[in-house]
């Protein structure tokens, strides 16, 4: 018993000294990704990605003469736990910046904490927009960088006239579909040519839904499915499509949540030819991407690990943060937030990502077709980089709103939701 106690005391002392030691010459970086629970399938990769980026930065000599120290926490796919872990990272660990979250629910859950404690969060996943926070930088795609170009592609290149908007029942699909519906109608698509449908999380019995799509698609017009189906429900969906004999040539499905990681290891035969819209694919042939993939394989020691879009968004976010810290010569969040807009770093598809005053970045939009090896073959891409738009131009409530945290277009005062009609900032109350 005595031995046990003294060992414990010794351990406590040891950890206290390392903590003190750590405070003085390292910069702490928080990583807030689920390592257990349903979201672990996607988020574990981003944690590894961050660890690799931090290791590389340290090999290059660290940042501001100090080494970076990753602080990994596990919010366990539990939305309220995200907020608690965020609080722990900011107030106990005193991290300089947090990279993390996946799904809008988790982001919305940490948002009040980040703003209250004046932290800094980089969010690396595509989302539905309609949000702008001074403390959050969105390096994933906004709807105008993913959903709208995808619909344009189908309309112009494949001649689609009838649309099925199929999604999982939560905030991202609902908002995205609202935007898409408004957009399609603005393009002259009639009500009877749009079918919107929601299914619960983890839905696996797609028989009725798919036969509904089949019936809807037999009206003499080219039909496509725009899918915001989330995660696990996707594979049974595509299997059912194949089983009922719906080929990609007849009714193509364009998905916003199906990437290399989701396809890794599964039998992709039923998916071949279906489409996905992203801002990055592993198959993109550029020197930067080749290096990145090689480093990833070396780091993980596994040649089969794939790379995907949120990994690129994490890569861009991390490099932007590094650059902004160097520019501000401090890790103080306020100064870094001020230094970030205008920061430019190369992306992995051969272009340059620029942080905009609305805390979104510029991205190319790529449409890829699923190949039978689980990779995507780019069939179309935008000519230029597309600037991320926080507030959709197609929704009645948000089309007059703009976000500018430098104050350039909002009458001098930084504002996340400036109404250009009334020339007023709606302020924090109207946010989130």
């Amino acid at each position: 018993m005595k031995l046990w106690k003294s060992a414990l005391a010794g351990f406590a002392m040891l950890s206290a000294t390392t903590a003190a030691h750590a405070d003085s010459d390292t910069i702490k970086v928080g990583i807030l990704h689920s390592l257990s629970g349903t979201m672990a399938i996607s988020e574990t990769t981003l944690k590894d990605d961050m660890l690799m980026l931090i290791k590389q930065q340290n090999e290059k000599g660290g940042l501001l003469g100090k080494k970076l120290e990753p602080v990994v926490v596990d919010p366990a796919s539990n939305w309220p736990l995200f907020a608690e872990k965020m609080r722990q990272l900011l107030s106990q660990e005193k991290v300089a910046a947090v990279f993390g979250c996946w799904t809008s629910v988790s982001r919305k859950s940490v948002l009040p904490v980040v703003e209250e404690l004046d932290g800094l969060l980089f969010y690396p996943v595509q989302y539905e927009g309609e949000e702008s926070s001074r403390n959050v930088f969105y390096t994933g795609a906004a709807p105008n960088q993913q959903a709208i170009p995808a619909v344009d592609y189908l309309m112009e290149q494949e001649g689609v006239e009838r649309w099925v908007l199929e999604g999982t029942d939560y905030v991202y699909p609902r908002t995205t579909n609202k935007i898409l519906e408004a957009y399609l109608k603005s393009k002259g698509v009639k009500d009877e040519d749009i079918m919107i449908n929601y299914t619960p999380f983890g839905f696996s019995d797609w028989q009725t839904e798919v036969s509904k799509i089949k019936t809807f698609g037999s009206a003499g017009k080219k039909t496509a499915v725009v899918s915001t189906i989330n995660g696990d429900a996707n594979v049974p969906f595509y299997k059912e499509l194949a089983n009922q004999g719906i080929k990609a040539e007849d009714i193509p499905v364009v998905a916003f949540s199906v990437g290399e990681e989701e396809l890794a290891g599964i039998d992709t035969k039923p998916l071949v030819g279906h489409l996905a819209a992203w801002n990055y694919f592993q198959s993109v042939d550029t020197p930067a991407n080749e290096t990145f993939i090689k480093e990833w394989h070396d780091y993980t020691g596994n040649e089969k690990r794939v790379t995907n879009d949120p990994m690129e968004a994490t890569y861009i976010g991390f490099n932007m943060w590094v650059k902004a810290v160097e520019k501000a010569s401090t890790t103080d969040p306020d100064k870094v937030i001020a230094a970030l807009p205008g920061t430019e770093v190369p992306n992995l598809t051969g272009g340059t990502a620029k942080m905009l005053p609305n805390h979104h970045i510029t991205k190319p939009v790529l449409i890829g077709e699923v190949q039978d090896d689980g990779q995507f073959d780019v069939v179309w891409e935008t000519d230029d980089l597309v600037a991320g738009d926080a507030w959709s131009d197609y929704l009645p409530g948000s089309k007059d709103l703009i976000s500018d945290w430098t104050g350039g277009e909002t009458g001098g005062t930084p504002c996340g939701n400036y109404d250009t009609k009334t020339e007023k900032c709606l302020g924090l109350k109207a946010m989130h």
Binding site: D169, N197, G202, D205, Q207, E249, D372
Partner: protein, 558 residues
């Protein structure tokens, strides 16, 4: 335009044939499927050269160029064309670094030369790059291949090709269809061809009004969604007679389809019911017969699914030839793994908690989280691939019903499992003991039944059956650590609704819930449909707390 060119080319080919010495480069396999036109004789050197030029340009071409090249390749009339184009559309046309184009006969070889058909073996150590295809190109290739395959001597190939030409509805296929019709002997293929001709006529208006009216009739007789699709294109036609005739055909097809729709939904319901039955049947034993609230039941299903994965991986490494029966091998394996886990759980946790339902619930809930995370740590968080054997993939038509093979097998399988389990409980010594213990533990003990052992084995039996369910569910759901979670609520619902302690109740409960769910779904949507079913169950349980088939007698509450 194109048929004209084809004719000219055919004539030229015929002349070339007379002049050039035949150089038979093709293999005997390729000779079986001779394309249209008079090129039934061996290939000419000039033509192969032509084909070689076209094929060698494929790997580096853009999608638009590939599409043109494919058309030109089809027109060469070379006997290898069909194999080249069908391999191309399947992604099996590959190129070496030096630009030699080869065909993979199976996914990973062996290979043969695309032009000559020379066998190249496994081509180990040579880096091959796939000649890429996209959606549009794939569609065009299917059309081209189908047009060539219409003259195949094999009836099943012709039948498939006829269907493809109907889907493609490409006006360029019309001459080939006419030709194929004139010599077709199988009546069903001829019928499909006539329908394909009708669809092309309606889509492109290539014949007079009378011909179009006849085409409408042909499609009305076909009477399925595809026919409807072709007919609906006519509602903008300027010709009033045509439009009305098409509209009446559409009405009549829609009316019949409505009846089929109901049948289809009932079938979907039975299929969902069989999945619910499989998931719930193990629980019907552990919860229904033994009264243990086992929240880790879903994880037993998950273990079964992972066992299937492991069995397939082992077979792949040791005996690939057994892959087609991998699922059958997995059934006893999953039963042993999940059953063993069940016995272990019963001996280490549950036996201390008999008669304390709340503690059992909490303990097994914790256990389910532990099992999930353990599997996640061992196998990784990503979904695992479980391959469907050939006899379980695809679908067949029954009237206007689409019956998917995997679903029909699962219905059959769930019935077999139920029947075997019932027979086991009724006719075996162990079954009798189980029933004795659950009906009156003390009495059974005094008769010399080792109740402890029976408890452990019964729990193992229930878990093992859940494992077997996992084998079937691996075919229609993701094999991931969360697999079980999605079934646990449904399983309890089925058992409670059907009546605790009664396997017949489980059967009727599962089928009722499945069919009710699927009949509601088209009107209410998946989310609301599920809610309505839940409300129904809550109300039902208020009226009949013991479920559909309640056990009667004085031992029920013991």
């Amino acid at each position: 335009m194109k048929p004209m060119r084809a004719t000219i080319r055919s004539v030229l080919t015929a002349i070339a044939l007379c002049l050039a010495l035949a150089t038979p480069l093709h293999t005997s396999a390729a000779q079986e499927t001779v394309p249209d036109g008079p090129t039934t004789a061996p290939t000419s050197a000039a033509e192969t050269h032509d084909l070689a030029g076209l094929v060698s340009r494929l790997p580096k071409a853009s999608y638009n160029e590939k599409s043109e090249l494919a058309g030109a390749i089809a027109e060469t009339g070379n006997p290898r064309v069909e194999l080249i184009l069908s391999s191309f559309s399947a992604g099996r046309l590959q190129a070496t670094k030096e630009g030699r184009v080869v065909i993979a006969l199976k996914d990973d070889g062996p290979y043969e030369d695309a032009l000559t058909g020379d066998k190249l073996g496994m081509m180990e150590g040579i880096r091959l790059k796939k000649v890429r295809v996209n959606n549009r190109l794939r569609g065009e290739l299917h059309g081209l291949v189908a047009r060539l395959a219409l003259s195949s001597p094999d009836a099943s190939i012709r039948r498939h090709a006829a269907r493809e030409t109907f889907d493609a509805a490409d006006p360029d296929s019309l001459p080939s269809i006419e030709k194929a019709l004139s010599r077709e002997t199988e009546s069903d293929i001829a019928e499909t061809l006539r329908q394909a001709r009708a669809a092309i006529i309606l889509k492109n208006g290539v014949v007079d009004e009378e011909g179009q009216l006849a085409a409408i009739e042909t499609l009305r007789d076909r009477g399925d969604l595809e026919a409807l699709n072709a007919l609906l294109g006519l509602d903008k036609s300027d010709n009033l007679v045509l439009r009305e005739s098409a509209a009446s055909a559409v009405r009549s097809i829609k009316r019949t389809l409505e009846y089929w729709d109901v049948a289809q939904n009932v079938y979907y319901g039975l299929s969902l019911g069989s999945v619910l039955l499989l998931a719930a049947i193990g629980l019907a034993i552990t919860f229904g017969v033994m009264g243990v609230i086992n929240m880790a039941h879903g994880e037993m299903i998950m273990l079964g699914a992972y066992t299937t994965y492991v069995v397939q991986q082992v077979l792949l490494a040791v005996a690939p030839s057994l892959m087609s029966v991998s699922l059958i091998i997995s059934i006893p394996a999953a039963f042993i793994v999940a059953g063993g886990a069940g016995i272990l759980i019963e001996r280490t946790i549950i036996r201390f908690l008999y008669g304390r339902p709340l503690e059992t619930l909490l303990a097994t809930w914790g256990l389910s989280l532990i099992l999930q995370q353990a599997v996640r740590t061992i196998f990784g968080p990503t979904n695992k691939p479980v391959v469907a054997p050939d006899w379980m993939s695809g679908a067949f038509q029954l009237g206007q019903l689409t019956i998917t093979s995997s679903r029909i097998w699962i219905i059959v399988f769930s019935m077999i499992v139920l029947a075997v389990l019932m027979a086991f409980l009724k006719y075996t010594h162990f079954g009798t003991q189980t029933r004795a213990v659950t009906q009156n533990r003390k009495m059974a003990a005094s008769m010399g039944v080792r109740t402890n052992l029976v408890d452990a084995l019964t729990f193992g039996l229930g878990s093992g059956v859940a494992g077997i369910a996992g084998v079937a569910l691996s075919q229609i759901d993701n094999v991931s650590p969360n697999l079980g979670q999605s079934y646990i609520i449904d399983s309890f619902m089925v058992v409670v609704f059907g009546g605790v302690g009664n396997l017949w109740g489980t059967l009727v409960g599962a089928m009722t819930l499945g069919v009710a769910n699927k009949l509601l779904e088209p009107f209410a949507g998946a989310v609301v449909g599920k809610i309505v079913v839940l409300i129904f169950i809550i109300l039902f349980i208020q009226r009949r707390p013991r479920g559909l088939f309640a056990l009667k007698g004085r031992f029920v509450d013991a």
